[in-house]
């Protein structure tokens, strides 16, 4: 256990508390006929208890050294933003265009140099996926 586990335990406790608060909107009813709020209440309490356990266990751990960030964590952050944009534009732009753009940007972020190679990969992957899933298998992609 490390000090980082302590902070993640705080995060888990916050999630559990928010979940318990939101779960109050659903009735508990009786033990013989449990309402829709009963199981979430039990799960929220269990998660809260586990977060407290993890917090106390991490508190006993020796302080860990400085956290070492991955060498290209900024690239991962940009990739995460690209994925959020992809989810937002997929229904509007359609699968072919949105996925081509996603593959192009992802390939560049992962270190595929130049323009034509990422572009060729983007078109190849998007067209192949569309042919396989839409044309052959009839999956109704946007």
């Amino acid at each position: 256990m490390t000090r980082r586990d302590r902070w993640s335990a705080v995060g888990l406790a916050l999630v559990a508390t928010a979940y318990l608060v939101l779960g109050r909107a659903y009735p508990l009813d009786t033990l013989a006929a449990l309402g829709p709020g009963a199981f979430p209440l039990a799960v929220g309490l269990v998660l809260l208890a586990l977060a407290v356990w993890q917090f106390s266990a991490a508190g006993r751990a020796a302080p860990s050294g400085p956290s070492i960030a991955p060498p290209r964590s900024r690239a991962a952050l940009v990739m995460a933003c690209v994925l959020v944009v992809y989810a937002a534009v997929l229904p509007r732009l359609g699968f072919l265009l949105a996925s081509s753009a996603l593959v192009f940007v992802a390939a560049r972020l992962m270190g595929l140099d130049g323009w034509w190679r990422p572009a060729a990969l983007a078109v190849g992957v998007a067209v192949a996926a569309r042919v396989l899933f839409v044309t052959w298998l009839g999956v109704p992609l946007p």
Binding site: P36, F39, A76, F104, A106, M110, P140
Partner: protein, 494 residues
């Protein structure tokens, strides 16, 4: 039993072949893992005839067990967790010029174990299914609870973190329609969330998208594989002779471990290695490049994959992410696994089991001559492969319910999965919590209703009482043992 031959029809043979090739490639490529790959092909599976689709999924599952050993031996990079132990002696054998022999013994051990586990599965699954007919809600609740507790206890790493991830998975499973009364919960009025969080989207995100993010952060990590000449593929007589006992021990051990809920294949390989270190005549050579260190664990992890199918097929309870995806695939093609699977869909049950035989032969024929080709796949830089994985993840997530909201779920799960890796959380318990959550809730509510609100109704039957007692024991025993060790005179205090 004649349904076993369903596996030999041309469409099922093709499905099996495609499955084992994909599985081998997934096993060779570190990162994605069988569960992620199986989730990605679900859009294809739903378009196939149910038996063929499930045969393809099962082929990926046990194909990955085969393929995982290739990169462990040649590149010292395990394709999946169950092959980690194989790197210890396998890679050292490769450096001594015995890569071919190690790969051939790994393939043979996988074949022997896979075939044994099929026979044992064939015998055990119907027996367990018959016994399970006596299971009521209380027994299902107790068994599911025992499963998640054992998973958290056996998974390695911090137990509390694994348990917390199970709880988060169960928490996520409560999003959407309540399984008993139909009340919509925790959806924030998002229409797409009413059906709940798509298991496929969550799996694709946690395993696929998170892997791409991790590789993006780590930079290009392509590795060079050792070349294997065809004439080096054959183990010599001494190596074969030394491989047989650990292979047999690993097979039996692996199948038994596979029956226990938890990350069975990984545990089985470690247990097998531990057993060899104790009982092998060449135990002192283990760790320096002994063939026993390849034969035992490889047999064990493949046998465990077969053993893990018993609770899935006979009880409808998956205890690994891969069998959870298989369960999802079954439900997508309207096949409900459990005690009635054998009665309602005998052709599916026996067809899938029959495909294991066929698949094991295919894997042996594929792995021996094509091992060099598969090894070279591991050297393809991620920048060429991983952007395509993102698109496959999106297709898998969307196609599950034709719901754009599921693409958001996939992205969210990907970000969560990446954060979990950074914080040292294993995604497998979360996936199982998500799958078992509705079962836990449904069986708890039903058991209490039957017992008219008496909590003791949860342990009124002997089976439920034994399983709940085992769950409590698994939960408290490690803590009690730690306290006992600390209380011993002379024991170091923290």
């Amino acid at each position: 039993m004649s349904e076993l031959f369903v596996a030999l029809t041309p469409p099922n043979l093709v499905a099996c072949f495609v499955g084992v090739v994909l599985g081998t490639l997934v096993g060779v490529l570190p990162g994605l893992g069988p569960a992620g790959a199986m989730a990605l092909v679900l859009p294809v599976v739903v378009k196939l005839e149910p038996t063929a689709g499930l045969i393809m999924l099962a082929g990926i599952y046990y194909g990955a067990m085969y393929g995982g050993s290739t990169t462990s031996i040649l590149v010292n990079v395990p394709g999946e967790a169950a092959s980690v132990v194989t790197t210890i002696d396998g890679y050292r054998l490769a450096r001594r010029g015995r890569a071919g022999a190690a790969l051939a013994v790994a393939a043979l051990a996988s074949f022997v174990a896979g075939t044994f586990s099929v026979v044992a599965l064939q015998l055990a699954a119907p027996l367990v299914a018959r016994a399970a007919l006596a299971f009521g809600p209380a027994e299902y609740f107790a068994f599911a609870l025992l499963g998640v507790v054992l998973l958290a206890t056996l998974a390695g790493g911090a137990r509390v973190k694994a348990l917390a991830m199970v709880a988060v998975g169960v928490l996520l499973s409560t999003v959407g329609m309540d399984p008993m009364g139909g009340t919509v919960r925790f959806t924030f009025d998002v229409a797409g969330a009413q059906a709940g969080l798509s298991f496929v989207a969550v799996t694709a995100g946690l395993f696929g998208v998170a892997e791409v993010l991790a590789l993006t952060a780590a930079g290009d990590t392509a590795t060079a594989a050792a070349r294997v000449r065809f004439r080096e593929l054959y183990p010599n007589r001494e190596e074969l002779r030394r491989s047989v006992p650990p292979m047999l021990r690993g097979t039996v051990l692996g199948f038994l471990v596979g029956l226990i809920p938890g990350p069975a294949a990984t545990i089985a390989s470690f247990v097998s290695y531990g057993v060899e270190k104790r009982v092998s005549r060449h135990r002192r050579e283990l760790g320096t490049g002994a063939i026993e260190g390849v034969a035992g664990p490889e047999a064990a992890n493949n046998a465990a994959a077969g053993g893990g199918m018993v609770p899935l097929l006979s009880l409808g309870l998956p205890f690994t992410p891969a069998t959870a995806v298989l369960l999802s695939g079954m439900l997508l093609v309207s096949v409900t696994p459990g005690p009635f699977l054998l009665r309602d869909h005998p052709h599916v049950f026996w067809g899938v089991i029959g495909s294991f035989y066929v698949g094991n032969v295919m894997l042996l024929l594929l792995n021996l001559p094509l091992v060099g080709v598969f090894a070279r796949v591991a050297t393809i830089p991620p920048r060429w492969l991983m952007p395509g994985v993102l698109v496959l993840c999106a297709v898998a997530a969307f196609a599950d319910n034709n719901n754009p909201f599921d693409v958001w779920v996939m992205v969210g799960a990907g970000l969560l999965g990446y954060a979990m890796r950074w914080l040292g959380y294993d995604p497998a318990p979360l996936v199982l919590g998500l799958v078992l959550g509705p079962l836990l809730e449904r069986s708890l509510v039903q058991a209490l209703t039957i017992a008219r609100g008496q909590v003791s109704g949860l342990w009124s039957s002997p089976q439920a009482a034994v399983m709940l007692a085992a769950a409590v024991l698994a939960l408290v025993a490690p803590g009690v043992l730690t306290l006992a060790r600390r209380a011993r005179p002379g024991a170091p205090h923290p």
